[in-house]
């Protein structure tokens, strides 16, 4: 009997990659809101910061944005495992305990965010937010270490040969510390941006987002460039690859977003920021492909599309969007008619 072979892709690679990168960009935006927002809320120095409506709004929004972070994290992980399973499973097994701990830590952070949003006591609220931030920092570091390990299959083999207990933390910090810092700088930028957006509705109080947005941008440029130049043998091929034509406009878009931010045109600034996020995610993906070159070529995996199921997915997705906006509408409709 000929059993079905599972080493096939159930849709063309371009389609899977598009969904992968799109959902990953959404994951990053939500994750940045949580991480950058937490730093902002905890680090913002102003006399009556706990009365600032932006801060209060953030504290109430965190649990919901965390839900979005998780939801938009699940999808790219699915596609990552679908295409790069060989590498991500192996790397996560080497760091198994740290990888598994992510789930527990996310649960703890998530509850801490809920606790902070329900709590009325200032000190308790601060503690909860700090716990959530520590958790989020752990998760992001763990991810950076594992995802950078998976891009070096030889390293995975070597680390596994030394220790099979799943208690190995990727020791090649130089591979991923800058990459992680770059992510965190991005978080400050996005967190600051959202704060400024919320502040628009409260012109009476100071905008706590400004400094974070600008400093995040500066740090982002510095760490990003440093990371790029730390890539070693991949820099050359990267500079010559089409990805550079995506990264370059991405950088320009970031600068443009600063310009429009400065002009208080947050809608255009936000659009530019989102597009530059997409460009970054694409570049990050291209670096991954270059690093895996010689080990794996995803376009060589045979494709056996499941179009009917995919079509059903699209329909469900559409229905989800419609239902989602319907629910938000009825939720806020009543809220407003009550308030006025």
């Amino acid at each position: 009997m000929n059993l079905p072979d599972y080493q096939v892709l159930p849709a063309p690679l371009w389609l899977i990659t598009s969904l992968h990168l799109l959902t990953l960009a959404l994951h990053f935006i939500a994750m940045n809101f949580v991480v950058g927002g937490l730093v902002l809320v905890l680090a913002y120095r102003a006399q009556d910061r706990w009365c600032n409506p932006v801060i209060l709004r953030f504290v109430r929004l965190f649990p919901i944005v965390m839900a979005a972070t998780v939801t938009f994290g699940v999808a790219p992980l699915l596609f990552l495992q679908l295409v790069y399973g060989r590498f991500i499973y192996a790397a996560s097994i080497v760091s198994a305990w740290f990888w598994l701990a992510v789930v527990g830590v996310v649960i703890a952070s998530y509850y801490a965010l809920y606790a902070a949003s329900f709590s009325n006591r200032l000190s308790a609220r601060k503690v909860c937010l700090a716990v959530a931030l520590i958790g989020a920092v752990y998760v992001s570091l763990a991810y950076s270490s594992v995802f950078s390990m998976m891009e070096r299959p030889e390293l995975v083999k070597q680390l596994y040969a030394e220790d099979q207990s799943g208690l190995v933390w990727n020791p090649r910090f130089k591979d991923y510390l800058l990459r992680w810092l770059h992510m965190m700088a991005g978080a400050l930028t996005i967190g600051g941006f959202f704060a400024s957006s919320v502040a628009v509705g409260n012109p009476a109080s100071p905008d706590p987002g400004r400094r974070f947005f600008l400093w995040g941008m500066v740090l982002g440029f510095l760490t990003g460039l440093a990371y790029l130049f730390s890539l070693g043998e991949v820099i050359g091929p990267f500079m010559r690859s089409p990805a550079i034509w995506v990264l370059a406009p991405g950088l320009v878009l970031s600068l443009l977003s600063v310009w429009f931010y400065h002009r208080r045109n947050l809608v255009i600034a936000g659009g530019a920021l989102s597009l530059s996020m997409l460009a970054m995610v694409f570049s990050r993906h291209s670096v991954r492909l270059l690093q895996l070159e010689g080990h794996f070529d995803p376009s060589a995996v045979p494709v056996r599309p499941q179009w009917t199921v995919f079509a059903l997915f699209l329909v469900c997705f559409l229905v989800a969007l419609i239902l989602g906006s319907y629910m938000l509408r009825v939720f806020f409709r009543r809220a407003e008619s009550r308030q006025t």
């Binding site: 599972y6 159930p10 998780v70």
Partner: protein
């Protein structure tokens, strides 16, 4: 073998259960609880019962916190843990069902949003709109079950998929529908039992009694759905496995009987305490009922897992990630060259990939008792014929040398003294121990391959001859490699055997 093997001291079964059990309980509760809330809200609003509404609002806060955070993330946890414990199986499932999961993800979005808005909207939303949110939540949650149920049942009964490889054949497999109905019943039952527990502490007494009756009715309804659908499910499974396999399934059948008894006890207790004596129901009784309900469902999940053994995906991939389709490749080339992440210790790697996903040496499903006081030749023989032993194990397709390596690896970690020393036995008692260790794995007395009939009442010389040529008695049967004392004791034990069973 395409992946490194996580060598963790805790048994894989325990790790898996630690993550999966809480999730499975909470996720079914998340569905049933959603239905419960919305049905109760309708009733409370129709009756204009403010106390009931306030109670439901409190319940929904707890509900949101448990299901959205803990329920959703332990689900992610299961995904993480199966990726660590059996990456190959996870990979096979994702390649086959990725769009199924993508569809589930769309339901998940709706579910999360609906639950959050439902909770935050109690006070300010128009009742009708609020209840619409509740229904949307329930529909989305149940549809996620619909999808996951397809994938779970696929692992047990992939049915036509094994021939066609088609998504739909795998998804709507032979146990899809009975399992879906059964799990829906579980959701309803858990919602009833859980709300029973919460309500048992409400005041005043007549309000409590009203709630308790309502919640007991939910529990009983759930059970009433579960019992027949379970029977249907079991029939569907029997239709998929060869009847010889059913004979070997002593464990699953045991669990089935246990679960029927449990169901009867829960139903009786619900009728007695929840409906008839609702006024006097104590928190402790409600807690016990809840525990019994979870045990019932746990027994079912355990049963499902044990029926599937030795496979992770029936007929396709074994529990240790061995793919059925690769048998000829392994038989020809053996295992070692396919181990993609070697640790440097070949014996350890082989042991991990062949046995460690189900056994540890000392802890969970320990191999130590089975191999204490034996020898490398015997262990190697067992390694080569694991599929003959009780417990439905995967076959071994490695080479003889590889089996020797595994045997030496195990032997280094077990007690190497003689059986008589280890257990302090002699005479026919030692003989019985020798039998248990060296023969009982394949010929359990009273089991399907009981050899008492051939062994009882022979002459000494026949016994000697039988042990001399043991390895020729059956394909895969080991030679007798015990020492002279063990041989003598075993023969002494044989002599106590009578036709029709041991004394």
């Amino acid at each position: 073998m395409h992946y490194p093997f996580w060598d963790v001291g805790i048994g894989y079964g325990i790790l898996m259960a630690a993550v999966a059990v809480p999730h499975v309980f909470v996720s079914h509760f998340a569905i049933g609880g959603g239905l419960y809330l919305i049905v109760a809200e309708h009733a409370a609003r129709r009756a204009g019962d403010d106390r009931h509404l306030a109670y439901l609002e409190r319940l929904s806060r707890f509900f949101v916190l448990v299901t959205l955070v803990f329920g959703a993330l332990t689900g992610v946890g299961i995904w993480f843990i199966i990726g660590l414990l059996n990456p190959a199986a996870t990979e096979a499932l994702i390649h086959t069902f990725v769009w199924g999961w993508a569809i589930e993800w769309t339901f998940f979005i709706v579910e999360i949003l609906a639950a959050a808005l439902y909770y935050y909207g109690w006070r300010h939303m128009a009742p009708r709109d609020h209840m619409v949110l509740g229904w949307i939540y329930f529909a989305a949650a149940w549809l996620s079950l619909f999808v996951i149920n397809g994938i779970l049942t696929f692992m047990l009964t992939p049915g036509k998929w094994l021939r066609t490889g088609s998504f739909w054949d795998g998804f709507f497999n032979p146990t899809f529908w009975p399992s879906l109905v059964f799990r829906t019943g579980v959701c309803v039952m858990l919602a009833g039992l859980f709300s029973l527990l919460i309500a048992s502490r409400e005041e005043p007494a007549d309000f409590r009694a009203r709630l308790l009756r309502r919640n007991s009715a939910w529990g009983i309804t759930g059970l009433a759905i579960m019992a027949p659908s379970f029977f249907w499910y079991w029939r569907a499974i029997l239709g998929q496995v060869p009847s010889t396999a059913v004979q070997g399934m002593t464990t699953p059948v045991y669990w089935i009987h246990l679960s029927y008894w449990l169901a009867a006890v829960i139903a009786a207790a619900l009728i007695l305490f929840g409906l008839l004596l609702a006024r006097r129901l104590h928190v402790a009784v409600a807690a016990i009922l809840m525990a019994l309900g979870l045990a019932w469902f746990g027994a079912f999940e355990w049963f499902r897992e044990s029926v599937r053994k030795p496979f992770i995906i029936s007929g396709y991939m074994y529990g240790n990630a061995l793919e059925v389709a690769r048998e000829p490749i392994y038989r020809k080339n053996a295992y070692l060259r396919f181990i993609s992440c070697p640790s440097g210790d070949e014996a350890a790697d082989l042991f991990r990939h062949a046995c460690r996903s189900c056994h540890t040496v000392n802890g969970y499903k320990a191999l130590k008792p089975a191999f204490d006081g034996t020898d490398t030749a015997f262990i190697a023989a067992i390694v080569k014929s694991t599929d003959l032993l009780r417990g439905s194990m995967p076959p071994f397709w490695g080479s003889a040398q590889e089996a020797d390596l595994i045997a030496a690896h195990i032997r280094d970690r077990v007690d190497t003294r003689h059986l008589s020393e280890i257990y302090g036995l002699h005479g026919s008692e030692l003989g019985k121990k020798v039998y248990d260790v060296r023969c009982g794995g394949c010929h359990r007395i009273g089991g399907a391959t009981d050899k008492t009939g051939s062994l009882a009442g022979l002459a000494d010389a026949d016994y000697e001859g039988l042990l001399d040529m043991a390895s020729e008695l059956g394909e895969g049967m080991p030679a007798f490699t015990g020492d002279a004392a063990e041989r003598a004791a075993l023969i002494q034990y044989f002599k106590t055997l009578k036709h029709g069973g041991a004394e």
